[in-house]
């Protein structure tokens, strides 16, 4: 069933330079949907638009059938949607624990709820518990990404948008992040991910969208792409 759906999105950062042109997208409940495409195709832009960080010039976004196109960014986490941007979004001078506490902002001053949520993340990622007193900026790139993913899970989202969660990471850490995504999938969390590692994305995804030059190039299930994959990604530099 469609849970997060975008219809005919046209999006620009400045004036009428349209970065996304008439893009449609649909994430199905409890499934992993991957967005792939060459650099600069507009994958990150699509996630930003889905999360209210960019208002589309035209088109609409629906959550469980309800219009959310005009919702403000800060409302999305309250609607059960989490987002891990491509670029670093932790606060480097704060400790790991403080970063996690910020992730529970919407719990206000409900201390018990905050503590339980953080305990849950520590169980999932013991490394974060070990490093909880360290400034987040001192963690390695992979650890910072895990901190961001952990932070996005604190509020128990039903949908998680992840923009290149494994890019620039060592293969071992990337594997750990893919394993986490598998866990989330088995917990029936809907995942939307942008990924440059096309093969891995195909391994984990139930449905794939291919973007090129800000437009839908192709979409379908893994089976739909059998035999066409090499042709699809031919010419991309990845």
């Amino acid at each position: 069933m469609a849970i997060l759906e975008a219809k005919n999105l046209t999006v620009a950062y400045y004036g009428d330079i349209h970065i996304l042109k008439d893009v449609s997208f649909c994430a199905r409940e409890g499934r992993v949907t991957a967005v792939i495409g060459p650099n600069g195709a507009g994958k990150s832009t699509l996630l930003k638009a889905l999360y209210g960080l960019l208002k589309p010039i035209s088109g609409s976004i629906r959550l469980r059938g309800e219009e959310i196109t005009e919702c403000k960014v800060h409302e999305f986490i309250r609607m059960g949607i989490a987002y891990v941007p491509q670029l670093r979004s932790i606060f480097p001078e704060l400790t790991v624990k403080e970063n996690l506490e910020l992730g529970t902002w919407i719990f206000k001053t409900d201390k018990a709820r905050v503590r339980d949520a953080i305990e849950g993340v520590f169980e999932r990622f013991p490394m974060l518990a070990q490093k909880q007193g360290d400034p987040a900026g001192l963690l390695s790139g992979g650890q910072q990404k895990i901190l961001e993913i952990g932070r996005s899970l604190l509020t128990g989202p039903s949908i998680c948008l992840l923009d290149e969660p494994t890019a620039t990471l060592a293969p071992r850490i990337a594997a750990q992040i893919y394993a986490t995504l598998e866990d989330l999938k088995s917990e029936k969390i809907t995942i939307v991910m942008v990924d440059q590692r096309v093969r891995q994305a195909f391994d984990i995804a139930d449905y794939i969208y291919v973007l090129e030059l800000g437009q839908n190039k192709a979409d379908g299930t893994r089976q739909d792409f059998v035999g066409r994959l090499t042709e699809t990604i031919k010419g991309w530099l990845d």
């Binding site: 960014v73 800060h74 979004s89 902002w105 932070r151």
Partner: protein, 309 residues
């Protein structure tokens, strides 16, 4: 509470007690009035620049509007001074609300637009009907002149603005503001309502200098556009707050006390060169201590965190 915070609170209490008895001592009342005025300005400015990272180059406009609202209400509409000062605060805050859309601008663009607004306001005020604002001659309030009472009003406002910064710093608002300063997009993704929190800080940062303007107009019993909209008010506020350490609670207080004292000293000794000396100090400050005294100390001795923040 550790040793350091006990010491800090004790010195603050001693300082306040001293300020309380200043009128009984053979010292200059204006000197200490203006010291409290600058502490107040630096604390309020800290809320918008230190906590949110917005640099309003036209910050003087809130002070300026504050002086004029009190002066006009008292002299033309016979509003009692305390009520007029309150009105200064309200109108200054309303002005902040009116120019709130400029908060959408970032960095230097916000600073410049704000600067331009202060200049526009100065021209507007100078060109109000003469029987209201007295044109470039301004307004005298000599019949309301009560230096002692206005001194204690300023003392009260200074304490209030210090407590406001302390409260902001320790509240959820302060957490939100620091996040917004460091990374507004990341803050909004966490569920922090960026525009609303920023607006709260902006309105608090505007209300305080507006009231301060009203009290200062009462203390000097004269207002005129050149003084009320003097860009040096903005410049000094920035320098004093920065010198002490933006984003900390105690820094701007310390910076204002020290720099105002130094400024006064330089004025007395080098009447011609004082601006040059001030300028050199600013350069030195930005080059060697961008985090100010408190910020630098905090880096060296993180244990001071409880005292400073």
């Amino acid at each position: 509470m550790n040793r350091y915070s006990a010491l800090a609170w004790a010195s603050i209490a001693a300082g306040l007690a001293f300020l309380f008895v200043v009128p009984l001592l053979p010292v200059s009342l204006p000197y200490f009035f203006y010291m409290m005025f600058w502490i107040t300005m630096a604390c309020a400015f800290n809320i918008i620049y230190g906590f949110v990272g917005y640099l309003p180059f036209g910050y003087v406009m809130f002070y300026g509007v504050g002086t004029y609202v009190t002066a006009v209400l008292w002299s033309r509409f016979h509003v009692p001074i305390p009520a007029a000062i309150l009105a200064s605060g309200c109108i200054g805050t309303a002005l902040a609300l009116a120019v709130a859309p400029t908060l959408r601008l970032r960095g230097i663009y916000f600073a410049i637009v704000n600067f331009a607004m202060a200049m526009v306001l100065r021209i507007l005020v100078a060109n109000l009907p003469f029987e209201w604002s007295g044109g470039s001659f301004g307004i005298t309030l000599s019949r309301a002149y009560r230096p002692l009472t206005s001194y204690y009003f300023m003392l009260g406002l200074m304490v209030l603005s210090g407590l406001t910064v302390l409260w902001v710093s320790r509240s959820r608002l302060g957490v939100a503001l620091r996040c917004i300063r460091d990374d507004a997009a990341a803050a909004s993704v966490l569920g922090i309502n960026v525009p609303v929190n920023r607006l709260k800080a902006w309105m608090i940062a505007a209300a305080i200098p507006s009231v301060a303007g009203g009290i200062e107009a009462w203390f000097t019993a004269i207002v005129d556009p050149a003084t009320s909209f003097n860009m040096m008010v903005t410049a000094k506020t920035i320098v004093y707050a920065m010198f002490g350490g933006l984003g900390t609670v105690i820094g701007p207080v310390f910076g204002a006390v020290f720099m105002y004292g130094l400024d006064d000293f330089i004025w007395g000794r080098f009447p011609v060169l004082n601006l040059l000396v001030l300028g050199l100090m600013i350069v030195f400050l930005i080059l060697f201590m961008p985090r100010g005294i408190a910020g630098t100390a905090l880096r060296k001795w993180p244990r001071l965190r409880q005292v400073v923040k």
